[in-house]
Amino acid sequence: MAKDRNEIFQDVQEVLIDALGVDDDEVTDKATLMGDLGAESIDFLDIVFRLEKAFGIKIPREELFPAESLMNNPEFIDNGKLTEKGLTELREKMPHTDLADFEKDPDINKLGNLFTVNAIVNYIEIKLNAA
């Protein structure tokens, strides 16, 4: 009963519409959760709970949104930017995310931009295929 990418996107879209009170045309592939859709920290947990319910999976928080563990490790951050070590860690932790743009200027203030609708769809797709 595998869901195709389009179905996953539609379910993710619905979750975000309900959790963030946004319109369906705002929830595009490239929309960022914090910048474009106005998500705050508690919303991330709300989204995780809703995704778990919608897809019948368990989502460890640091798996989908792993920024926190990076931010708390001094080895990974230098002068407000992620170090090479930090980037390696990020690549490993966020295989569901396209890091190409971020790597050009790994400013930690831009980490939030990595949490896109597309990243969630990728994550769910990987997770469902692994199940």
């Binding site: 920290s41 508690i42 991330f44 947990l45 709300d46 709970f49 319910k53 928080r61 926190e68």
Partner: protein
Amino acid sequence: MRWIWIDKFIEFETGRRAVAVKNVTLAEEHLHDHFPGFPVMPESLCIEGMAQTAGILVGEARNFQEKVILAKVKKAVFFDYVVPGDTLTLEAQIESIAPEAAGTTGKITCGKKLIAEIDLMFSHIDNNLAGIEFPEENFVFTDTFKSLMRGPAFSEQD
């Protein structure tokens, strides 16, 4: 200040659901201002009553070790007014609970009449994302709140 918007629990299933009642009376002063000649219980206070019902349910699920703070009103839809003389039944259920937070669903009824549907999110603030530290003492679940944890709904645990 006695900021308590439920009177007692009538059912309590650890980690699952709780049912509280609230008797609304004209002796509550704010009803004379809200509104003069047309007293109705403010909907914000109905949400607070649900937050207390659901918050105690969430707190008890972790043995009151967590500081449980209302973090988000996911949904609050009202279908009717609450007026003096009404006995409200507030039923809350835990939908999800994790180390950092919990989500609840709930409804308020008056007899058979549906008053409101209220879904909430609570943060366990010692496990907050920003890593901010709070005092060790549990300032959420004070004795005043715990005094609600008596009576028939808890008789098996007494």
